[in-house]
Symmetry: C2
Subunit: 283 residues, 2 copies
């Protein structure tokens, strides 16, 4: 069992990881190896104290150097579910279970809304994880939303299994090019009763499908952790970054505005100290 | 009238100042020109994300460079009192009044406790400000607590006025050397009825004095701002760094643990955004 699991490799996750490492806690840090897209794409940042005017790419390079200096490791797996148990949390990442005493959610804020029908049909044809559920759709017809380049290998994996894939990309220049993959425009909603039946596009067109894979950076936090208290897209936390679930903490954009890198590192620091305190108290 | 007054030139104050400047707000920033002693004296800081392992002196140098790049100015005056009025706050600094719509308290946390009798006798012989009240003690006998090197010039000023000064220094190698200044050990308490009558030392010895000047980095926040909600040595704030007094915000060590630079800059950032929002709402 781990002392902690961190979900998210943006500034908040990094700040927590640095502190847990300094306190010699055992933990797994899930997220993209290239950190935060949002930081990387910031043209100029002027308000990170001590760094003057700096580009997002340069700041990310500094984060990377700090991570390497501290010998921190990122596990590039996607967490699809968290189950709070008595004295521990079960974290499901790419179909593997990780047991942990504490959890930090540093998942960023969803810029896109959920699709109509997404939450209702989750687990009934809607999936967030290709490697978890792909095998269910062997020889079938599916729709896939690919939210970032880093998910293209998951689309490829799905294209290996499914007979037909309707692909909606959330960014330009999606490089997936397979004979059984047909590119479509933005998805408006997902329809079905007991199971997914079809997707609806913005033009009103509908396409019958057996399943829908939604591959995007952030999953709505309430979907990830059942019972988690939220306010709109934000996780409710107290001044020590505690959520309503014992052992679960949150930091960064996912806890609310302002969406600022400096706020994120500050909250990551506070969360780490609160997690260390929690571990000491529950020992 | 200013948009804002910031008290404190540690990391939290700096973070707020940077953001207020970016938003082109008018403000006065009070504090020591050499920033935070606490940062300066940190041997090594490992958990300020993006900077790797860095000495406190180097981090302060980086803060200084950032400040200069943004053309921020520090006003080295000591704030002794804040009076909340209807729609504004009156801030008294070295006997000058500054009117402001918002105030950030980034005063650090008092590491020393108040002296016995200090709060009771404040304004009745106990003073925090040499330049404000020194003239009252011309030709008299006073005790002075000097908490840091930066206050030595205030001690000199008091020695010019008073006949006799009993000096208790809170650090090593105090350089004040005047014929009418006698160095004493730590002060235990201040005694008196309507007015200060004597100080008591830890050995039980008492010395009759007419007044006591306490020159230290942080004043208990509840003493500075009447009616401010506090919990022990900490100012009570919400997630947006708001205190119980409209227009008054707080950030950094003064709001509670963990006492961390990364937390302080994060809170300074959040406070700045909350202040900007407050200014927009009350316009």
């Amino acid at each position: 069992m781990y002392d902690a699991v961190i979900i998210g490799t943006g500034p908040a996750g990094l700040s927590t990881a640095i502190n847990l490492k300094l306190y010699q806690k055992s933990f797994v840090w899930f997220g993209a190896k290239n950190y935060s897209d949002k930081v990387e794409k910031s043209e100029k940042i002027a308000n990170y104290p001590g760094l003057g005017l700096i580009s997002g790419a340069d700041l990310n390079a500094r984060f990377d150097a700090h991570m390497k200096e501290m010998e921190l490791e990122i596990t590039d797996k996607k967490v699809t579910n968290v189950m709070p148990m008595d004295d521990r949390l079960m974290v499901l990442a790419d179909n593997e279970v990780y047991e942990t005493k504490t959890l930090l959610l540093a998942t960023g804020v969803m810029t896109a809304k959920s699709y109509e029908g997404e939450e209702e049909l989750l687990g009934r044809g809607v999936s967030y994880c290709a490697t978890c559920d792909g095998f269910l759709y062997k020889g079938k017809t599916i729709a896939v939303f690919c939210g970032a380049e880093r998910y293209e290998r998951e689309v490829d994996y799905l294209a290996d299994l499914a007979e037909k894939v309707y692909l909606s990309a959330g960014y330009r220049d999606c490089r997936v090019d397979r004979p059984n993959v047909e590119k479509i425009g933005p998805i408006k909603g997902i329809k079905g009763g007991m199971k997914v039946e079809e997707i609806e596009l913005h033009q009103g067109e509908t396409i019958p499908v057996d399943g829908v894979f939604i591959l995007r950076n952030a999953v709505a936090p309430g979907t990830l952790v059942p019972g988690l208290a939220t306010e709109g897209p934000h996780i409710t936390v107290d001044r020590m970054q505690k959520t309503n679930i014992p052992g679960v903490f949150a930091a960064g954009d996912c806890t609310g505005r302002p969406y600022q890198i400096t706020k994120a590192v500050g909250e990551g620091n506070v969360a780490a100290h609160a997690m260390i305190e929690y571990l000491a108290e529950t020992k």
